[in-house]
């Protein structure tokens, strides 16, 4: 299981928990698992999210591996200038 | 409107063109003479990207009517280098990284050369006020000031 830290707005879809545990070994599996377990997150995840794994931020990278002891933080999809 | 025939000199070469009476020198340089090194940033004389010399005087070519250049001498960025050799100011701008996007560079080089021709040893303050009509959004002007001063020193020594 992977413990995922949710940003504030996403917690309302997970019974106000700051962290949830899901079964996932990659970025894509994590997104799929979150949608399955917490359907309220689906619109945001489908619009786009980033994922910080051990402090490094990933976008659009399905197969990025996640290990069980990683720090995993869900973040909005970012755009820059 | 009826076109007017104009004979002038651009960068030392005799040039003839016809233009409408309300066409600006900038429009004629860019659209009729193919001299696109002079840039349009605003068209209202606020940014200095279109700086050229007319009879040795620094002007915004967007504020000069082309018909006013009858018999005049116009200097643009295309005339600054001689043959395959860059002007000291041009080379120093490259050496000092005084340009980023480069769109303001032709106008700033023309303006800087006009100053150094009159005043070979400007203070930083004189230089900053002289170039206040030439907007640069990339550099914060720091390296431009350094480059002009370095070029001025080289030109004085030459």
């Amino acid at each position: 299981m992977v413990a995922v830290t949710l940003w504030g707005t996403m917690r309302q879809y997970a019974n106000d928990q700051e962290k949830v545990e899901v079964q996932a070994a990659t970025f894509k599996e994590l997104c799929d698992a979150l949608i399955r377990d917490y359907p309220g997150m689906q619109p945001q995840i489908e619009r786009g999210v980033s994922l910080a794994i051990d402090g490094r931020i990933y976008k659009e990278a399905w197969f990025t591996p996640i290990s069980a002891d990683s720090e995993v933080v869900l973040m909005p999809f970012m755009q820059g200038g | 409107m009826k076109n007017t025939h104009i004979a002038t000199k651009v960068n030392g070469d005799g040039v003839e063109f016809t233009c409408e009476p309300d066409e600006t020198l900038l429009e004629v340089l860019r659209n009729r003479l193919g001299l696109t090194g002079t840039k349009e940033g605003c068209g209202t004389g606020d940014c200095g990207a279109c700086s050229v010399l007319v009879n040795g005087r620094l002007v915004c070519s967007c504020l000069v009517l082309a018909v006013e250049t009858q018999g005049a001498e116009v200097s643009t960025i295309e005339g600054m280098a001689s043959g395959d050799g860059l002007h000291i100011l041009q080379q120093t701008f490259i050496d000092h990284a005084a340009l980023q996007c480069g769109i303001c560079t032709p106008g700033i080089l023309i303006a800087a050369k006009a100053l150094l021709d009159k005043n070979p040893s400007p203070t930083d303050s004189e230089l900053r006020f002289w170039l206040a009509g030439n907007l640069c959004r990339c550099t914060g002007y720091d390296k431009i000031i350094s480059a002009v001063q370095a070029a001025a020193a080289k030109m004085r020594a030459a």
């Binding site: 402090g55 | 940033g41 940014c47 490259i94």
Partner: protein
């Protein structure tokens, strides 16, 4: 993947060679968006809304079409209607279909033999409008009774009960802020406002489009991302991506404002209708009215601090408006507001609100400068109240390796402490101040991006190298990319030429944004060079008749290694290249990646300002930028980013703002009234580059382009506030506003 495992001695990275495009740019030869022509070319002009908000009842362009020299007219009906949210918004922003949402919103476009004929024809287009109520200010637009800019656009994250103008809500943070505030000896709560500002690139948007009847098209334009232009224009014109080739011209500044598409679909549609090439160039007024700007904001900040300067809790509520179309820029403000601090309890809330302003475009570190300005102002005020040194306060609370960031993840190596210490040790910080003078300090932060990138590196038979990359060069990146290729290959910088590919010549590359180019394209270039090196080692091994594994690459040559060491003289890159046809064909390296590991960037700015108490005018006396660049590949251009960002931030702090009349129309759409800093407004901008390597890049590079615009807002405001002895809370700090604060007593 972590790259920096050993200290590497660089031979070329860190030097300052001449940029490859320098000669073209100092001679006027470089071709920007408006500098090209095509045979038979028409000139185009755009009709724009004079209303802040109105229904389009009808458009009659028959008289315009009949005008002498006019070859085509297009309206919103000529673009392919999009279903999907963001593409649909771009389509509506390029050409309105049923409603105009801001002053300057495009309604129609004309192509004619001359620009003058096109402009005359615009006046013959009869648009019947039915004016609608408008709203300009973000706080007004949040009220329940505000005019609705667009309905039905709120995302699921917006709680019920808000105006329909509120389209997005976000919340970040950790810890118990109430408990944190209870521990504080001092709490400051302040409200701030910042104006919308424009990126202010000197080159107006420009393009030249050619579309043929068989569904092929060519587009030349000034853009930060030709692939993005291709994708959007293909959709709006119903073209296949492969058939639309977009070439990025030299670009006269972007700063985020040229990440968008505005006029390109219009030019393509006009070309399609007329069967001729069409050139379309914006006027400066159009640039101000219809492109950019950044968000305007209204922000509340509350911070608690102990007597000895430890922050106990922080809270910020950010209300941003990015104009008439939804965006989520506020999420980046909410994540970055407190990024410089290691906090036990932090909470930020963000709201995006629609107003009748132009569609926001990114501007250097979008969303961060205003949020960090507000936080840094309150930290400065607390330092004043508690009589503490503002750098010591920041050092005491600075984010560092292992800190839980305000947006969630734990920081790896970040250079904030080193940057603060450099500022503290700098002579600027100790220099005496005179009357009416103040010294301001602010930290700043940006995430930095990686993203989709590909690079091809061709080894030419004469031993020179062509690097092909896909990101427009805004500030000297070709020099940096060439330096990294030269470093990795071990050949002189002069042997390399880097060019920017069109969309048909290289795979997709993300936009030049997020400070990503030196990082991501640099990474891909190094990897492409390694790919080529591997192939060259293979060729050398074949020539020598030994295993490829037994060959290494040293100083630009293949060298036999292991048991073969010394058996053959090294084969240089040029020697291998010269016989490439004989040894298996041309040699090239490639690399494609969705790059991660960009590594955040912190900066600290010091500003001395003097305020004239009679007029309220501010003079910046001294300015120093300290920033962690990870590794400065070409230090001159790193300094240039730091100086340029600082100057833009100073303009934002002191002068620049979008000013609207009661009628909702923009009143200052020119450089005379929208005043960006000129040379005589600024002092020298000193720079101190820190190099704390980013573990996510082979050379330790961090993006440097965006962070420098973040600290100036707070640094200048803190300097001015200290100079006049009053806390200022609104940007820009124009002379009347400062005078008002002084006179209020």
């Amino acid at each position: 993947m972590n790259y920096v495992s050993k200290i590497r001695k660089f031979k070329q990275v860190g030097t300052r060679p001449a940029r490859p495009d320098g000669d073209d740019k100092v001679t006027g030869r470089a071709l920007y968006g408006a500098d090209t022509v095509a045979p038979g070319m028409l000139m185009a002009a755009v009709l724009r809304s004079p209303h802040a908000h109105a229904q389009i009842v009808s458009i009659d362009f028959s008289a315009a079409l009949a005008h002498d020299g006019v070859k085509a007219v297009v309206t919103g009906a000529d673009l392919v209607a999009q279903d999907e949210g963001s593409l649909r918004d771009i389509q509506e922003n390029c050409l309105a279909t049923t409603r105009v949402l801001y002053d300057g919103h495009a309604v129609a476009a004309v192509a004619a033999l001359t620009l003058k004929a096109a402009q005359e024809a615009l006046k013959l287009i009869k648009v019947e409008y039915s004016a609608l109520p408008h709203v300009i200010e973000v706080d007004d637009a949040m009220r329940a009774d505000a005019p609705i800019v667009q309905s039905g656009r709120a995302l699921e994250n917006v709680p019920e009960g808000f105006s329909q103008n509120v389209t997005y809500h976000c919340q970040f943070g950790h810890g118990d802020t109430d408990a944190g505030f209870a521990l504080a000896d001092e709490i400051v709560t302040r409200s701030f406002k910042t104006a919308a500002t424009h990126q202010g690139y000197i080159e107006p948007h420009a393009c030249l489009a050619q579309m043929t009847t068989d569904g092929k098209a060519e587009l030349w334009c000034c853009t930060q991302g030709q692939y993005n232009v291709r994708d959007i224009c293909s959709a709006l014109l119903g073209l296949e991506g492969s058939q639309l080739r977009v070439t990025a011209s030299e670009i006269g500044g972007g700063f985020g404002g040229k990440t968008n598409v505005f006029i390109e679909p219009l030019a393509l549609a006009l070309s399609h209708k007329s069967g001729r090439p069409v050139k379309l160039v914006m006027s400066r007024s159009e640039v101000f009215r219809a492109t950019g700007p950044t968000v305007s904001s209204s922000i509340d900040v509350k911070i608690g601090m102990t007597r000895d300067g430890r922050i106990t809790a922080g809270r910020a509520e950010l209300r941003y408006s990015g104009g008439a179309f939804p965006n989520e820029t506020v999420s980046m403000g909410a994540q970055s507001a407190f990024a410089a601090y290691d906090m036990a309890a932090v909470e930020t809330l963000g709201w995006n609100v629609l107003t009748n302003r132009p569609k926001e475009a990114a501007y250097r570190a979008p969303g961060a400068p205003m949020a960090i300005y507000a936080v840094e102002s309150v930290v400065d005020e607390l330092s004043q109240i508690l009589n503490l040194d503002p750098i010591d306060v920041r050092l005491k609370n600075a984010a560092r390796k292992g800190s839980k960031s305000s947006y969630g993840p734990t920081f790896d190596d970040v250079g904030l402490i080193e940057t603060l210490e450099a500022a503290k040790a700098h002579p600027h910080y100790q220099a005496p101040l005179g009357p009416n003078q103040g010294r301001g300090l602010s930290a700043g932060f940006w995430f930095n991006f990686g993203g989709n990138t590909c690079v091809s590196l061709n080894v030419n038979t004469d031993g020179t190298i062509s690097v092909i990359e896909g990101n427009p060069d805004i500030g000297g990146s070709r020099a940096s990319i060439s330096l990294m290729a030269a470093e990795e290959l071990g050949v002189p910088y002069e042997k390399i030429r880097t060019i920017i590919a069109d969309t048909a010549s290289l795979g997709h590359n993300d936009i030049t944004d997020g400070s990503r180019v030196t990082f991501s394209v640099g990474l891909a270039t190094i990897k492409a060079a390694q790919d080529a090196i591997q192939k060259m080692c293979g060729r050398a091994a074949q020539i020598w008749g030994i295993d490829a594994d037994a060959v290494t690459w040293e100083d630009g040559a293949a060298v036999p290694a292991g048991e073969n060491a010394g058996k053959f003289p090294p084969l240089s890159l040029a020697e291998i290249a010269a016989v490439s046809f004989e040894t298996g064909g041309p040699i090239a390296g490639h690399f494609e990646v969705n790059a991660d590991g960009a590594g955040v960037s912190f900066g600290v700015h010091l500003c001395d300002a003097e305020v004239d108490p009679e007029t309220g005018a501010t003079k910046i006396l001294r300015y120093t930028v300290f920033q962690d660049a990870g590794r400065a590949v070409h230090p001159s251009y790193v300094e240039g980013q730091m100086q340029g960002g600082a100057a833009q931030g100073i303009g934002w702090a002191l002068n620049e703002e979008y000013i609207y009349g009661k009628d909702g129309r923009l009143q200052n759409s020119g450089f005379l009234d929208y005043r960006i800093p000129v040379a005589s407004d600024l002092p020298r901008i000193d720079t101190v580059i820190l190099e704390i390597p980013n573990p996510g890049h082979p050379y330790g590079v961090r993006g440097v382009g965006e962070t420098p615009i973040v600290p100036p807002l707070g640094a200048v405001s803190n300097a001015v506030s200290r100079a006049i002895g009053k806390r200022l809370t609104q940007l820009p700090m124009s002379p009347p506003r400062i005078l008002q604060a002084i006179l209020k007593g």
